[in-house]
């Protein structure tokens, strides 16, 4: 009888103990990094530096995005094979969050408290990353190059001193697109096709600064809802003859297919995120049987923007470097624009490591990135980093797609959030080439 009574208690006890016990070691000292970073060098040893990132590797957001960390990994491996930075090998830990903020919070705890990463690099997604941004900052973990164009990573340095954006934010992209259309197509009746989150919102804010009056209709889609017919039909009904679309690549293919079925032929202007000509083109090329024309021509005449060279620019020295890195260190499959994205980010992180010097500390790394003004890399326009702003790349150019390649329509245009003017870039970053050996030196 007695054993009987104790069974549930014993069950509870053992369950908790076993589960809690399977790895309790190694957590205690993590508290040292808890108070503001200071001169801590968590995650750094003589010959290694450990960094991590969270990405959707499973679930509906995984197609596409899960390739980004493979690109970054390949570039880190490339650097490691050449001896690392300041004698340190870069260890890169990738965690799956399935694009669910609750999971992001769990895996970030794991990265910071258990794996004891030195810095977060390239954590992906707005809702996901915003779940952990406060935690990372309160723990003093450098949070570099968030893979999202939301403004919040860079516009409030005081409350998020450790977080840095990377790609041009959606607002300046909207501004640049808006100005281009206002100047070159003043008579166009503009429709907006927006993802129903900060991506669409920030983009719309930028676009409206320049062509508020030209906009005849706005349609929003919820990510995951793959039937965009009603939205495209709505734009058609409003008579929009130019559609600016802030959406992901899959939705670019879907809008193209839908407008085909609707006999709707506006000029499409996709934001950089959604344009990926290689991916979208390969998706659309399949529907050749009397549907979309074959070859690479399915996206001909589509306007978009670019801020790093993509796989189509085979002559670009940066793309040649990425191809070499992928051939050497890649895990199979071909080089894609997602992988180039990851590599370009990884390149910037390696630059930051090199600049932070031999005595690597978290605050030292942040200072190094804040003084990035002269640093050049694959990005076409310079970073905006300073002690007052952690916004990423400052601009992009407008291009038109022809046969799967981007043809420049404007020089590189740079701007900033708010009512900062749009100017031509004077740094000439767009025409630089990677250093010999493909690895940045310490400055």
């Amino acid at each position: 009888m007695k054993a009987r009574l104790l069974a549930p208690v014993a069950g509870l006890l053992t369950a908790t103990m076993i589960l809690a016990g399977c790895g309790a070691g190694g957590d205690r000292e993590s508290d040292s990094g808890g108070d503001g970073g200071g001169a801590s060098d968590v995650g750094v040893t003589e010959d290694t530096v450990t960094v991590g990132g969270h990405f959707p590797l499973t679930g509906v957001a995984a197609p596409g995005y899960s390739e980004i960390p493979t690109g970054a990994q390949a570039y880190f491996d490339y650097v490691n094979a050449a001896g690392g930075i300041n004698g340190r090998q870069i260890e890169y830990i990738v965690k799956d969050d399935g694009y669910n903020p609750t999971n992001t919070s769990q895996v970030t705890n794991e990265l910071v408290l258990q794996d004891e990463i030195f810095a977060m690099v390239g954590g992906l997604g707005t809702p996901t990353h915003s779940a952990v941004v406060d935690f990372l900052n309160s723990e003093g973990v450098p949070d570099l190059f968030v893979s999202s164009g939301s403004l919040q990573w860079g516009d409030d340095v005081e409350s998020k001193p450790y977080t840095f954006g990377w790609q041009p934010d959606y607002e300046i992209e909207g501004k640049i697109i808006g100005q281009y259309i206002a100047e070159n197509m003043p008579k166009a009746k503009v429709g907006l096709f927006l993802q129903d989150d900060d991506f669409g919102e920030d983009g719309e804010k930028g676009v409206r600064q320049y062509l508020d009056k030209q906009i005849v209709g706005v349609e929003r889609y919820t990510s995951g809802n793959t039937d965009v017919g009603p939205q495209v039909a709505g734009l058609q009904a409003k008579g929009a003859d130019l559609v600016i679309a802030f959406n992901t690549p899959a939705y670019t293919a879907l809008t193209q297919l839908t407008s085909l079925a609707l006999g709707y032929k506006p000029t499409w202007f996709y934001s950089n995120v959604g344009s990926d000509p290689q991916l979208v083109g390969s998706l659309l090329n399949r529907f050749s049987e009397g549907a979309v024309e074959g070859d690479n021509s399915s996206l001909n005449g589509v306007l978009t923007t670019e801020y790093i060279p993509g796989v189509d620019a085979t002559d670009d020295p940066w793309v040649q470097l990425w191809q070499e890195v992928w051939d050497q260190e890649g895990e199979g499959g071909e080089l894609t624009n997602y992988r180039i994205y990851g590599m370009s980010q990884a390149y910037a992180f390696v630059q930051a490591l090199a600049a932070a010097g031999e005595d690597l500390t978290r605050d030292g790394l942040v200072e190094a990135v804040e003084s990035f003004e002269d640093v050049t890399g694959p990005q076409l326009a310079p970073f905006r980093y300073s002690a007052d702003s952690h916004m990423g790349i400052s601009g992009m150019r407008v291009v038109e797609l022809q046969n799967g390649k981007a043809e420049e329509l404007t020089p590189v245009l740079v701007s900033d959030i708010g009512d900062a003017p749009i100017e031509e870039d004077s740094s000439d970053q767009a025409s630089d080439a990677p250093p010999e050996g493909g690895i940045p030196d310490g400055s």
């Binding site: 069974a7 208690v9 369950a15 908790t16 589960l19 790895g23 993590s30 990994q73 989150d197």
Partner: protein, 389 residues
């Protein structure tokens, strides 16, 4: 000691309170030993456990399937996020959890009233639609509820009394993670004591009666609708408390945190542990918290690429579900209990053989059990089978 045993034997409430005290002691010991990361993981286990406990009452004891409990958690989580929107907020955290519970209770009542008439697959369909629909509400009222990005939760500082108490007991400072974990587990213990008492009492007997045989229950004067609705309400309240703990642990309430996957996870926890046992819900929650990262790590160590290792977790998780249902459909707790009961029966049989009294061959069905081991598996006909035809 004898008095304690006396309490154990004769008072249901007393027994549950004793268990709660023991549980609390275990929690304190564990949380003082583990580091911040494990503490937060345990907090995650706590919110899964609370919600799974509520679902146990609904599905295991009352026989109603819900595929939408994640949505009910969302109501709790958003209430918490709205109440804790700035760090200087003066509202005590216990009131926040209570308010979240009440909001979910209100929603649960509405859902329960609508669901009371539905059976089996119809109920599953309705709750499935609920799970998918609720995140859309947060998008529609984006201004107020933060849209896709959700609402941040600013956890107020650890209250001084808690810091003092911790210092008094252990001589160390209480970290925020520990605080969150304590909050989660104390909520869990309180919830489980309440659930266990309800399940053992008159209300619980009604729930079971309705599950086992609607017609007899009705003949015995039980109002079917009322019993169903009350089970749904209790279960929703637990989900609300769980959602609140989730929001505090994850520091965020966002629609993508409350997808169908969460609802299915809860159902899985309930079934893995053993349908109808609160302890099973807790064990299931533990499994689902600790198994996926463990599997991924093994995959990574075995040299799989990150992407493949990440797919390993759902693969193992799905296989475990399939295997448990095929090999041990009563779940871990149920199967263990059955094995124990069988052994006891054999022992008694052996004893009976000696004293030559064949009347005691049945395993003693002890009514003092935490919950009725006669889970739906044992009862031949379930509610929906008969009524959908």
């Amino acid at each position: 000691m004898n008095r304690l045993l006396d309490v154990w034997r004769h008072s249901v409430l007393g027994r549950h309170l004793l268990l709660a005290v023991i549980g609390l002691a275990v929690v304190v010991v564990v949380l003082e030993v583990v580091g911040d990361f494990r503490a937060l993981q345990l907090a995650a286990m706590a919110y899964l456990g609370i919600a799974a406990g509520g679902l146990t009452v609904l599905t295991g004891i009352n026989g109603q399937i819900s595929l939408g409990h994640g949505a009910l958690m969302a109501f709790g989580a958003y209430t918490t996020a709205l109440l804790l929107d700035d760090p200087t907020g003066s509202m005590p955290i216990s009131l926040v959890v209570l308010a979240s519970t009440l909001v979910a209770l209100a929603v649960g009542t509405a859902v329960g009233v609508a669901a009371a008439r539905l059976h089996g697959p119809y109920l599953a369909g309705a709750t499935l639609a609920l799970a998918v629909a609720v995140p859309g509400i947060a998008l529609y009222f984006g201004e107020f509820l933060g849209g896709e990005q959700g609402l941040r939760v600013s956890l107020p500082d650890v209250p001084t009394w808690a810091l003092d108490l911790e210092y008094l007991l252990t001589g160390t400072e209480m970290s925020r993670s520990q605080y969150v974990a304590y909050l989660g587990w104390i909520t869990l213990i309180v919830t489980f004591v309440l659930l266990a008492n309800l399940a053992r009492g008159r209300v619980g007997r009604r729930w079971r009666a309705v599950r086992d045989d609607e017609v007899s229950a009705e003949l015995a004067g039980i109002r079917l609708g009322r019993a169903r609705i009350s089970a749904f309400m209790v279960s929703a309240a637990a989900a609300g408390a769980a959602g609140s703990v989730l929001a505090i642990t994850a520091r965020l309430a966002a629609p993508s945190g409350f997808t169908l996957v969460l609802s299915l996870t809860l159902l899985t926890a309930v079934v893995l542990g053993g349908l109808g046992y609160l302890s099973g819900a807790l064990i299931g929650a533990g499994l689902l918290t600790f198994l996926p990262p463990f599997v991924t790590r093994i995959g990574g160590d075995a040299g799989l690429s990150d992407i493949r290792a990440a797919e390993l977790a759902p693969l193992v998780y799905g296989l475990v579900m399939v295997l448990v249902i095929l090999l041990a459909p009563a779940g871990l707790v149920g199967t263990t209990r059955m094995a124990m009961a069988e052994r006891r029966a054999r022992r008694q049989m052996a004893a009976a053989g000696k004293t030559d009294s064949p009347g005691t061959t049945h395993p003693q069905h002890d009514s003092n059990d935490e919950n009725d081991p006669g889970t739906p598996q044992a009862s031949g006909s379930t509610t929906s089978k008969g009524s959908t035809r």
